[in-house]
C-alpha cells in the first residue's frame, strides 16, 4: 500500500535556481526509501518539501491518498544537526516531539524511548552536556515519540564518526522494526543507503531529477562486509556514474571557464 506519493514535484527558488524538476517517488507503508545523490541534486530540498517546511512550485505530495499542504502530524523528522532545544532538559526535548499527548503519557513514553536509545538516566541533563552522537539519539527519540507514519531523515549520521554512525544505523533499524514507520532518508553515503534501505532512488543534479530506482533485495540484518552487499553497492555506484553522464564526468576534471555551481 502506498503511504507516501510524491507526484511531479517541481521547486524553483525565488532567485530562479531550479532545484527539482518533475520528481515522482512513491514509498509503501513501512518501507525504507533512500534518496541518494551528491550535492546540488535537490535531496534536502525534496525532504523539506515533504516536511512542509518549504512550498513546492508545482506537483503534489499525498499521504495515505490525501494531499498534504504544510506540516503534517504524521510526518516527523531528524535533521542533519540534532537541533535540540537547549533550554529544555533531555527528557523534555524527547517529549517535545509529541505535542498532542497528555503530559503523563509523554513522560512515560519519553522515559521508555530514552532507555531504548541507550540514554537511560540522562533525562534530567541539559543537551549541552551530551556528545554529538548522544544528541542525535535524543533527536531520533524525539522524532519517534509521536509514532509518526512517516519519518524523514536528512543525513542525520553524516556529521558523526564511523563508530557512532554504525551504532546509530543499528538503532534506527531496530526502532523501525518495532514501530514500522515509512522512512524517507536522504544521504550521500552509498554504504548507508544499501545497509538501511529497501529501495534506493538515485538522483542526478542541476536540476534535481530522479535518475534510477534500485531495489535492494537483501535480507536483514545485512552484513556490510559480505560479497552480496558489495554487489549491490557496485550496482549503485554504476548508477551514480551513469547519472552524472558525460557532462558530470567532464565536471570532475579541472577545467577553466566553468561556472561555479549555485551552492
Amino acid at each position: 500500500m502506498t503511504k507516501l506519493a510524491i507526484e511531479h514535484l517541481n521547486k524553483t527558488y525565488a532567485d530562479g535556481t531550479e532545484a527539482l524538476r518533475d520528481v515522482s517517488v512513491r514509498a509503501d507503508d513501512g518501507e525504507i526509501l533512500a534518496i541518494l545523490g551528491g550535492s546540488g541534486c535537490g535531496k534536502t530540498t525534496l525532504l523539506r518539501l515533504v516536511a512542509g517546511l518549504d512550498e513546492a512550485s508545482g506537483g503534489g505530495i499525498a499521504v495515505d491518498g490525501a494531499q498534504v499542504r504544510g506540516t503534517s502530524r504524521t510526518i516527523s523528522a531528524v535533521f542533519q544537526e540534532p537541533r535540540l532545544l537547549p533550554w529544555l532538559s533531555v527528557a523534555d526535548n524527547v517529549a517535545f516531539g509529541a505535542q498532542r499527548l497528555d503530559a503523563e503519557e509523554r513522560r512515560t513514553r519519553a522515559e521508555a524511548l530514552l532507555a531504548r536509545v541507550g540514554l537511560e538516566g540522562y533525562g534530567k541533563r541539559w543537551p549541552k552536556d551530551l556528545s554529538g552522537g548522544q544528541q542525535q539519539r535524543v533527536a531520533i527519540a524525539r522524532a519517534l515519540i509521536g509514532h509518526p507514519g512517516i519519518l524523514l531523515l536528512d543525513e542525520p549520521f553524516s556529521a558523526l564518526d564511523p563508530f557512532t554512525r554504525s551504532s546509530l544505523h543499528e538503532l534506527v533499524l531496530g526502532l523501525w522494526q518495532e514501530l514500522k514507520p515509512t522512512i524517507l532518508m536522504v544521504t550521500h553515503d552509498v554504504d548507508e543507503a544499501v545497509f538501511l534501505a529497501d529501495r534506493i532512488v538515485v538522483m542526478k543534479p542541476r536540476p534535481g531529477r530522479v535518475h534510477e530506482t534500485i531495489t535492494v533485495n537483501l535480507p536483514r540484518p545485512r552484513d556490510k562486509i559480505s560479497s552480496v552487499f558489495d554487489t549491490v553497492t557496485r550496482r549503485i555506484m554504476h548508477a551514480i556514474d551513469r547519472s552524472l553522464g558525460e557532462d558530470g564526468k567532464a565536471g570532475l576534471r579541472p577545467q577553466a571557464g566553468v561556472h561555479s555551481p549555485w551552492w
Partner: protein, 258 residues
C-alpha cells in the same frame, strides 16, 4: 596564590583600600585639604549621622521607588514593543522607524517638555527614567528575535506547533538571555536617569542630596550619596542576575563571573 585566586573579590579590594588609606593619611598630615576631600573616616561619621537621623534611608527610598517604577514601565513597554516589532513584519515597518527616530533625540532633551507636560513632581521623573530604560530593552528584544535560530523554529513547525506555540515555546526561551542582558543595561541607565531627574529639582532622593551638598558646600554628603548610588546599583544588578540565573542554567557559554 591559590587562596587568593579563590577569592577574586578580595583582590579587587586592594586598590580601593590603598587609595582610602593614602587619602586618610594625606588629610591627617595636611597634604590635602580635608574640607573639600573628606577622608573615609569623616565620610563614615557623616553616613552614620545621616542614618541616625533617618535622612539617608528616606532619600534611598525615594530614589529606589523612582528607579523601580520607571524601570517597570520602561522595561515593560520596551519588551512588549520589541516583541511586537520583532514578531511581525508589519509592526516593524510601521513602528520601528518612528521609535528609532525618537531614539536619535538625546533622552535628556526631553526634560523640559516632560516638566511642561507632567509637572515638576514625580510623574516627570518617572517618565524620564522610563524613557531611559525603554531603548536598550526595546533594541535588545528586537534584535534578539531577529537572531533566533531558524533551525529551531523549523523544529517547532515540524512537530506541529502553532504560530503562537512557536512564539511561546521557541522564540521567548531563545531570547531570554539577551532580554536579561538588556534589562541589566536598562537598569544601569535607570540609575543614571534618576540622578538627572533629581538634579533637575527634587526635595528628596539621592540626587537631591548631591545637589544639596553642592549648594551647602558639604563634600561629605555628596560623596556619601555617590557611594550609596554605587552600592544600590550594584545591589540591584546583583538581584537581577540572581533572579535570572536559574532560568539560564541551560546556556552553553563561558561565564566565570557575572
Amino acid at each position: 596564590m591559590k587562596n587568593w585566586a579563590a577569592r577574586p573579590a578580595l583582590i579587587g579590594l586592594i586598590v580601593p583600600a590603598l587609595l582610602g588609606l593614602a587619602w586618610e593619611f594625606g588629610v591627617r598630615y595636611g597634604v590635602v585639604p580635608g574640607r573639600l576631600m573628606p577622608p573615609p573616616s569623616a565620610l563614615w561619621t557623616s553616613a552614620v549621622a545621616m542614618v541616625r537621623a533617618g535622612e539617608l534611608q528616606s532619600h534611598i527610598a525615594a530614589t529606589l521607588w523612582r528607579v523601580l517604577v520607571g524601570f517597570g514601565i520602561g522595561a515593560g513597554a520596551g519588551t512588549v514593543l520589541g516583541l511586537l516589532t520583532g514578531a511581525s513584519l508589519w509592526a516593524r515597518l510601521l513602528l520601528d522607524p518612528a521609535i528609532q527616530a525618537i531614539r536619535a533625540i538625546p533622552s535628556l532633551a526631553w526634560v523640559p517638555l516632560f516638566i511642561l507636560w507632567l509637572g515638576i513632581f514625580e510623574t516627570s521623573k518617572l517618565a524620564l527614567v522610563a524613557l531611559g530604560v525603554f531603548f536598550p530593552v526595546y533594541l535588545g528584544v528586537l534584535s534578539a528575535i531577529q537572531d533566533v535560530d531558524r533551525k529551531l523554529v523549523e523544529v517547532g513547525r515540524v512537530f506541529g506547533l502553532s504560530r503562537f506555540g512557536i512564539v511561546w515555546r521557541i522564540t521567548l526561551p531563545a531570547i531570554l538571555p539577551v532580554w536579561i542582558a538588556a534589562l541589566r543595561s536598562g537598569l544601569g541607565l535607570g540609575f543614571m536617569f534618576v540622578i538627572a531627574a533629581e538634579l533637575m529639582g527634587a526635595s528628596e532622593g539621592l540626587g537631591f542630596l548631591l545637589l544639596d551638598g553642592q549648594q551647602m558646600g558639604r563634600a561629605d554628603s555628596i560623596l556619601v550619596a555617590m557611594i550609596t548610588f554605587a552600592l544600590l546599583g550594584k545591589l540591584a544588578d546583583g538581584i537581577l542576575v540572581g533572579l535570572s540565573r536559574p532560568l539560564l542554567r541551560w546556556q552553553d557559554v563561558v561565564r566565570a563571573k557575572l
